[in-house]
């Protein structure tokens, strides 16, 4: 079987499993999985830039929050319906990513990390500053009756699960396609050796800017979807913590693998969930597991899988 075929089967298989899980899992886990799938979209956006292009942004919460507030404020402050609001959230994220990318890519390495971190911090402070409209730290609830897509109420557990699954599937297949395309292979080339890639005649600056925009847009889409599906937008989602989360998820799951994000998010979600049901000191357990994983599976779970058994894993 060719690698392309295997890759298609793998990705469709994952989606099929997620579909089937809805009918098998108890309600509690179905709820968790909805959240995990939306956060995995965020992680996939981050992974495109970090895992595939080799650019470490410490400010991706800015893109997540941009999508979230773009949609949230369009709906709450302007009374716009969910579908166009989703589009507005998406457009806001594209613009934000283009601006941040254009400016931040003048730097590289540690400076890029700092600059993206600073942009995100500025975004967070802006949300607080305009607290009269954004409701600051407290955030705001998007009323249930407004949360309809194509006439379907997506606040119920079932509709929400399938909305999250559709979103996840679309982005998952999109990423799977992108990373196998010439564009995606060029991003990997830039990650591996930027100077060499430039000297093969590629406009590496342009590729990196495109990667930031695509990555930021997907992260923003996740933010908008999160607000819509869970009915809440708040400044917490713009904090540094929410910039660090996707890094942890992707490192755990496997940077530069298509499966890494969903694995990483699910793993961390249940790690905290399970350990907090056992002890108050759950962060300690979570911390120890994370350290062990970093020591023994430095390429993350999917990365280890690729290294040991499935070299073709995209």
């Amino acid at each position: 079987m060719s690698d392309t075929k295997r890759s298609h089967l793998l990705h469709l298989g994952v989606i099929a499993v997620l579909f089937a899980l809805f009918f098998v899992l108890p309600a509690y886990h179905v709820g968790n999985l909805s959240r995990i799938m939306v956060l995995a979209v965020y992680a996939m956006g981050f992974n495109l830039l970090f895992g595939y292009t080799g650019l470490l942004s410490l400010g991706h919460a800015l893109f997540f929050a941009t999508g979230m507030y773009g949609l949230g404020m369009a709906m709450n402050s302007f009374g716009i319906a969910a579908e166009p609001a989703l589009l507005i959230g998406l457009i806001c994220a594209v613009v934000m990513a283009a601006v941040v990318g254009f400016l931040a890519l003048r730097t590289s390495g540690v400076a890029f990390m700092i600059v993206t971190l600073m942009f995100a911090q500025a975004g967070y402070l802006t949300i607080l500053y305009f607290g009269a409209y954004t409701r600051g730290d407290e955030g705001f609830v998007i009323p249930q009756p407004d949360r309809m897509i194509a006439g379907i109420d997506i606040t119920g557990e079932t509709a929400r699960y399938f909305a999250a699954l559709i979103l996840f599937a679309v982005v998952f297949l999109l990423i799977a396609h992108v990373v196998r395309s010439p564009f995606g292979r060029t991003l990997v080339a830039i990650r591996e050796n930027e100077e060499r890639t430039r000297m093969l005649g590629y406009d590496t600056d342009r590729h990196k800017l495109k990667a930031v925009i695509l990555s930021g847009t997907i992260s923003g889409l996740a933010g908008a979807a999160y607000a819509l599906l869970f009915g809440y937008a708040g400044a917490t989602f713009a904090t540094v913590q929410y910039s660090i989360f996707p890094l942890l998820w992707v490192l755990l799951g496997g940077a530069g693998t298509t499966l890494g994000p969903i694995i990483g998010v699910a793993f961390m979600f249940y790690l905290i969930d399970l350990s907090s049901s056992v002890t108050q000191a759950y962060m300690l357990i979570a911390g120890v597991v994370l350290v062990l994983l970093t020591l023994f599976a430095p390429q993350g779970l999917a990365g280890e899988l690729r290294r040991r058994v499935m070299r073709w894993l995209p």
């Binding site: 395309s181 010439p182 292979r185 060029t186 990997v188 080339a189 591996e192 050796n193 100077e195 060499r196 890639t197 430039r198 000297m199 093969l200 005649g201 590629y202 406009d203 590496t204």
Partner: protein, 242 residues
């Protein structure tokens, strides 16, 4: 078509007070092999770096095929048909050999997977690395990595192929293969070869250009250079083909 494919005028690179290249005027004949020689630190790598755009010039002009490319960024120059191999091996260590060459091929062949595959296999065969195609480039021996570097240039079908000390670290038999390879390219491809191994220079070069201390010292046919007393002096009194 003009007989000269590449020309530089007053090309200069200063690092602080030091001029790594100073007012280098140079002409490269189309379809020929020109060797760029000179002692270590003479400025050979700096020169080809400025030609390819990798190193920004302090001043001076680079004219490629009648077009002034002095202001073009490196990738645009490469896109005009200039391929460049690094003196210090620079491959994608974490990717397979096949993917290394495919990246080089894809810039021109783009989305046409079949064409890329065919082209890559052809070049792998040409440089006798087909049996190692699926190994990671980082796991190859140093000599094979040098050959891979050359293959990444070849696959671009360049009009001008710049090679910076390609035979450094190659075994005797690999050097012979390299000489044979260069001879098959002559005519379609113009080759600018930086080379320390005088045997290789004498076997391949139609013309030789000598740099010393960042300045042009001499240029001419191998015969003329061999007899040139200034060149002999630069090589510490030894005969250049010694």
């Amino acid at each position: 078509m003009a007989a000269v494919i590449l020309e530089t005028k007053g090309l200069t690179k200063s690092y602080g007070g030091l001029n790594a290249n100073e007012d280098v005027d140079f002409e490269l004949r189309r379809g020929k092999v020109t060797a760029l020689i000179g002692p270590n630190g003479a400025g050979k790598s700096t020169f080809v770096g400025m030609v390819s755009g990798r190193i920004p010039a302090t001043r001076g002009q680079v004219i490629f095929d009648g077009q002034d490319i002095s202001a073009l960024p490196a990738h645009k120059r490469i896109q005009l048909g200039i391929a460049y191999t690094f003196q210090i091996t620079s491959v994608y260590a974490g990717l397979t050999l096949r993917e290394n060459i495919a990246i080089a091929a894809r810039r021109r062949l783009g989305k046409d997977r079949k064409a890329v595959q065919t082209k890559v296999s052809g070049v792998l065969e040409q440089v006798s690395l087909l049996d190692r195609a699926d190994q990671d480039a980082g796991d190859l021996s140093y000599g094979h990595q040098r050959v891979l570097e050359i293959a990444m240039g070849l696959v671009q079908d360049p009009r001008l192929f710049i090679l910076d000390e390609p035979t450094q670290g190659l075994a005797e038999s690999e050097v012979d293969d390299f000489v044979t390879l260069i001879k098959t390219l002559v005519g379609d491809t113009t080759i600018l070869l930086i080379e320390h191994n005088m045997d290789v220079v004498m076997r391949t070069a139609d013309y030789i250009h000598v740099l010393d201390n960042g300045r042009s010292l001499a240029s001419g046919t191998p015969e003329e250079i061999r007899k040139n007393t200034a060149v002999q002096a630069a090589y510490l009194g030894t005969d250049v083909d010694a």
